[in-house]
């Protein structure tokens, strides 16, 4: 996984943000997932169709974090989503 990978959220996921945290239900596996606040921000950007590189740039801009740190955190989080089968790599 690198910042140039194209990823999209799996289709058909049920999701809601409750108390700042996103809850996702994957009907294929009947699994309920909970994201923390940072994960929720990243997934909301994925929902808007943003690519990984753009998400990293926005996080650096909005939260004044070091680029290196933001890149590491975003990629780590997206890899976690991939391992759980919640995102699809487009290529």
């Amino acid at each position: 996984m690198n910042r140039f990978n194209r990823v999209t959220l799996k289709r058909g996921l049920a999701k809601r943000v409750i108390d700042g945290k996103m809850y996702l239900v994957d009907s294929e596996t009947s699994t309920l997932h909970q994201l923390n606040e940072s994960g929720t921000i990243i997934v909301k950007k994925l929902e808007k169709g943003m690519g990984i590189e753009r998400i990293i740039n926005q996080i650096v801009e909005d939260y004044e974090v070091e680029r290196k740190r933001a890149e590491k955190d975003v990629l780590f989080f997206i890899k976690g989503l991939k391992d759980k089968g919640l995102i699809i790599e487009d290529g």
Binding site: G12, A14, V17, I18, D19, V25, S27, S30, L32, H33
Partner: protein, 343 residues
């Protein structure tokens, strides 16, 4: 489901008064005529139109509802069923469908799969075709249920077969479990038949008696003394009205499908206004365990599966004891004592 996350979500949604799970009866129409149906005597005209339901779903999405159940009647009888199911999917609800299964052909099963439901629950009322069909009042309905489950499984849909155990079918429960295992479907039994929503007692003639409950509770599939954990006083009240609610085909909002007390109608007020301002809900949410009559000091408390809705139906007050639940608690208590004696 991840238990821990589910519990956290349950807790936070109750505290924040988010209607996390909403059961929507799409129609009272049904192509079966089940003897034990709690909707006997229903009015089937003036049901919510597609646009009204879309508006309701929009509100629910805004308010944080995650789980949406389509039930009936038979929801697949609605000509706009797939419009509603597609809309629910687009609105990112986790959709559950309760159906009698008789209308699910192979193409319907694949169409249902496109709606990505979390599960489809189908009623199976006997292990023998004659038993099931005699309860539904329609010959051939058993065969159609089995066919529906096979089609849905082939389409990759999770299926739960639900059985209301009653006098006519309780001796067939082992056969029902075998059918579920063969079809790779999950099973769920309900041992208590309810009166109708309008106070009709006709279904109660089919309800199991205490001896029959006791006989079933000897089977570990229904009751495991090793896994038994005593009912905590907090459980005397439930999630209904806290994070769970139901809407009828006519737009009435109930605390839950088993608690038919109208809190308001979505045709007269927004769902949000009903949820936030209903005097009955305010009263319910302020109710503490100490306000529940008799139950907190009852010697059967540890065994009680108390349902405030059943208390409402029987006594007109959700704080009263439900005599049905009392009898069931006694049956559980007896089973537990017997299991301990034989240990």
């Amino acid at each position: 489901m991840d238990e821990c996350i589910a519990q956290k979500l349950e807790k936070i949604s109750s505290q924040k008064r988010i209607p996390l799970s909403v059961d929507v009866e799409l129609t009272y129409c049904c192509n079966l005529n089940c003897k034990h149906c709690y909707l006997q005597g229903r009015k089937v005209s003036g049901e919510l139109a597609t646009a009204e339901l879309f508006r309701l779903f929009d509100e629910l999405r805004e308010m944080g509802t995650l789980y949406l159940t389509f039930t009936g009647g038979e929801p697949l009888l609605r000509p706009d069923f797939y419009n509603l199911a597609d809309y629910a999917k687009e609105s990112a609800f986790a959709l559950v469908i309760f159906t009698n299964g008789t209308l699910i052909t192979e193409s319907e099963a694949f169409r249902i799969a496109e709606c990505s439901p979390l599960a489809v629950h189908i009623s199976l009322l006997g292990a023998e075709p004659e038993t099931h069909d005699s309860i539904t009042g329609v010959r051939g309905s058993f065969r159609k249920v089995i066919r529906a489950v096979k089609f849905l499984k082939r389409a990759g849909v999770r299926v739960v077969l639900k059985t209301a155990l009653m006098k006519q079918n309780y001796t067939e429960y082992e056969g029902i479990v075998s059918i579920c295992e063969q079809l790779e479907a999950e099973w769920q039994f309900d041992m208590v038949v309810s009166p109708t929503h309008w106070g009709g007692v006709r279904p109660l003639q089919y309800r199991l008696n205490q001896e029959q409950w006791k006989a079933l509770l000897k089977d570990k599939r229904f009751f495991s003394p090793e896994k038994f954990s005593p009912t905590r006083p907090e459980a005397l009240l439930c999630s209904a009205g806290l994070n769970l609610v139901a809407v009828t085909p006519l737009g009435e909002v109930y605390p839950c499908l088993a608690w038919p007390c109208s809190l308001g109608n979505v045709r007269e007020k927004s769902f949000k206004d009903i949820w936030e301002d209903s005097p009955y809900l305010t009263h319910l949410r302020k109710t503490e365990i100490s306000n529940v009559k008799e139950c907190p000091s009852c010697p059967l408390l540890s065994y009680c599966p108390r349902c405030p809705g059943m208390a409402f139906l029987e006594e007109g007050d959700f704080r009263s004891p439900s005599r049905t639940n009392c009898q069931f608690a006694e049956a559980i208590g007896d089973s537990l004592q017997q299991a301990r004696q034989y240990k």
